[in-house]
C-alpha cells in the first residue's frame, strides 16, 4: 500500500491510524512564524464512525488503507448474517451485525447499498438514501387529520421506528430518509 506524507494528505483519503482504516476529514497546516510546522489531522475511523483529531510532525508519513467502496445488492438475512451480492460478478458477501450497523434497520431485500471493504472484508454498509417500507404497527389514524402536526410513532417491517403523521395506517408504504431516519411521504404504489 502507498504511504503518504502528512503534507500530501487530502480530505477523503483513506489511511491507517492506530491500526484502523480512517478517512481524512480535514488536514490543517499549522506553523508559527518562528516555530515548527505541524499537520493537524481530523479523521473518521471507518469501523466506529468516530471523528478524532491528532497532530503530526509535518514530515511524518502514514500508510494508505486498502479500502474500496463496492455497489452491492442486499439479498437476505439468514438470522445471523446479511447476504449481499455484487451484481456484475455475482460475487457474494456475508456481513455481520457489527459491520451492518444502522443499515440493518433500513433494508428488507433488493436494495442497492454501498459496502466498504477493508482488505477485502466488509466493514461498513451504507443503505440507499431513501427506502420504501411498510408500516406493521401504529396507533389508529385520526379521521380528518391530514396536517401531520404532532405525529405518532410507527414500526416498519424492518423493525425501525419512525415518527409519522397521524393519518398513517398499518399497511401503508412509507418513503423514509435513511440519513436522518425521518418519514418523507407515503410511497406511491
Amino acid at each position: 500500500m502507498a504511504t503518504y506524507n502528512t503534507n500530501d494528505l487530502k480530505n477523503g483519503l483513506r489511511v491507517m491510524i492506530d491500526d484502523a482504516p480512517c478517512t481524512i476529514v480535514d488536514a490543517e497546516f499549522v506553523k508559527p512564524g518562528k516555530g515548527q510546522a505541524f499537520c493537524r489531522l481530523k479523521y473518521r475511523n471507518l469501523k466506529t464512525g468516530r471523528v478524532n483529531e491528532r497532530t503530526y510532525r509535518s514530515t511524518e508519513s502514514l500508510e494508505g488503507a486498502d479500502v474500496v467502496d463496492v455497489d452491492m445488492q442486499y439479498l437476505y438475512n439468514d438470522g445471523e448474517r446479511w447476504h449481499f451480492m455484487v451484481p456484475e460478478t455475482f460475487e457474494q458477501y456475508e456481513i455481520d451485525e457489527k459491520a451492518m450497523g444502522e443499515a440493518k434497520m433500513w433494508v428488507k431485500g433488493q436494495e442497492q447499498c454501498i459496502v466498504t471493504l477493508w482488505n477485502g472484508i466488509p466493514i461498513v454498509v451504507e443503505p440507499p438514501n431513501f427506502v420504501e417500507l411498510a408500516v406493521t404497527e401504529t396507533d389508529p389514524g385520526v379521521r380528518g387529520d391530514t396536517s401531520g402536526g404532532g405525529g405518532k410513532p410507527a414500526t416498519l417491517e424492518t423493525g425501525a421506528v419512525v415518527r409519522v403523521p397521524l393519518f398513517i395506517n398499518i399497511g401503508d408504504m412509507l418513503k423514509v430518509d435513511t440519513r436522518s431516519g425521518e418519514y418523507v411521504s407515503r410511497a406511491k404504489t
Partner: protein, 332 residues
C-alpha cells in the same frame, strides 16, 4: 483548493474585485502613514547569495546565469531583514519596505509559499515603543480594538495554566492532554520549544480566535529569540525582547528589539547551522555582509514584519489566504 478543478476554471482569480480594491486601499494607507512619519520606503533584492539559517525556515533556491561566471546559487528571501539592516548600518535612518517573500514547504489556509510582507525599522525604539507605533498604524486602518499586551509568561499562565519558563516537558505535555490535544508518537521526544509551540497553536490561539482577540505577545523564552536581543534582570528569567501581533487570534506580525551584537549574531548563526546538521536539513551560506554591517555598527533599533495578506484577511473578514490573493500557489 485545486484538486479536481479544471484548467478552464483555474485562470480566474480566487479574490473578489471588492477585496482587490481593499488591498489597493490598504497599500495606499500604509504608504501615506509612513510618509507622514518620515519613514523612508526602500527596495532591496529578492535574491541573495546568503540565506536565513533558522531551521524552521526553508528558502527557495534558484541558479542565476552570470555572464563570465557561470551558474551562481541564489536564495529567495524569507524576509528583507538582512538587507534592510545593512541599510540601517549605513545610516539610512528609519526605513520600511513592502516586499514579496518566499517560504518553501508552507501551504495551508494561512500559508502560501509566496506572500507580501511589510517590514519596518525604527532606530532608537525598543519593542514597546514599536508596539505603540503599530497601534497607531492599526488605528489608521480603523482596525479596532487596540491590541492588548500579554507577556509570553502571562499568556501561558492565563490561557493554558502553565509556566513556559519553569515547567518541564511532562507538565507541558499534560497541559495538552488536559485540553484534549492528541499528538503523534513521533512528536513525543521533541524539544521543549516544540511543546510550547503546540500549546500556543493548539490551546491558546484557538481561544483567541473564538474571542476574535487582538493582542501582542512579548518577551519570549531566550531559546526562541531568533534575532531579538536578550534582557537579563536580576531574580527573573532572561527573556528575548521579541513580540508577535495577533489579530482575531491570527498571528500577523513578528518584531524584535533588534540584536546588534555581531559576536552574538555570529554565534546564533553557527548554532542554527549545527541544529540544521543535526536534523539533516540543508546547510546554507551565512550572510557575511550582514555580519560585516553589524561589525560596522547597527544602530540600536526595533523592527517588525507584518504579513499583509493575513492583515487583509482580517480587514476583509474572510477565513483563507486565497480569498485575498489573486492567484494562490495552485493557480500561479
Amino acid at each position: 483548493m485545486a484538486g479536481a478543478e479544471t484548467v478552464s476554471d483555474s485562470w480566474r482569480p480566487t479574490v473578489t474585485l471588492p477585496v482587490m480594491r481593499q488591498r489597493a486601499r490598504l497599500l495606499a494607507t500604509l504608504r501615506a502613514f509612513f510618509a507622514s512619519r518620515d519613514v523612508l520606503e526602500v527596495e532591496t533584492p529578492l535574491l541573495s547569495q546568503a540565506a536565513v539559517t533558522d531551521r524552521h525556515l526553508d528558502s527557495l533556491v534558484t541558479d542565476v546565469q552570470v555572464p563570465g561566471q557561470g551558474l551562481r546559487r541564489y536564495y529567495l528571501q524569507t524576509s528583507p531583514e538582512f538587507a534592510m539592516k545593512r541599510l540601517l548600518a549605513s545610516g539610512s535612518g528609519p526605513i520600511y519596505q513592502i516586499a514579496r517573500v518566499f517560504r518553501n514547504g508552507e501551504r495551508g489556509r494561512l500559508h502560501n509559499p509566496e506572500f507580501t510582507m511589510l517590514e519596518w525599522y525604527r532606530p532608537g525604539y525598543d519593542h514597546h515603543a514599536l508596539m505603540d507605533e503599530v497601534d497607531a498604524l492599526l488605528q489608521a486602518l480603523e482596525l479596532v480594538p487596540a491590541p492588548a499586551r500579554f507577556s509570553y509568561a502571562e499568556a501561558f499562565r492565563n490561557y493554558a495554566g502553565v509556566d513556559p519558563f519553569v515547567n518541564d516537558i511532562a507538565r507541558l505535555r499534560h497541559c495538552l492532554v488536559a485540553h484534549d490535544v492528541d499528538v503523534s508518537a513521533a512528536l513525543h521526544d521533541q524539544a521543549r520549544d516544540s511543546w510550547l509551540d503546540l500549546i500556543l497553536t493548539h490551546v491558546i490561539e484557538p481561544q483567541w480566535r473564538r474571542q476574535a482577540l487582538n493582542c501582542y505577545l512579548y518577551d519570549y523564552p531566550p531559546s526562541q529569540a531568533a534575532l531579538a536581543r536578550i534582557r537579563h534582570s536580576p531574580g527573573l528569567p532572561a527573556v528575548a525582547e521579541r513580540f508577535e501581533l495577533y489579530l482575531h487570534g491570527i498571528e500577523v506580525a513578528n518584531g524584535y528589539h533588534e540584536l546588534t551584537d555581531v559576536n552574538e549574531q555570529r554565534r546564533r548563526f553557527l548554532h542554527d547551522l549545527a541544529l540544521r546538521q543535526q536534523q539533516q536539513l540543508p546547510q546554507v551560506p551565512v550572510d557575511d555582509r550582514l555580519l560585516a554591517a553589524l561589525q560596522a555598527g547597527l544602530p540600536a533599533c526595533a523592527g517588525i514584519a507584518i504579513g499583509i495578506d493575513r492583515l487583509l484577511m482580517v480587514l476583509a473578514g474572510v477565513d483563507t489566504l486565497q480569498q485575498v490573493m489573486c492567484f494562490p500557489l495552485e493557480r500561479a
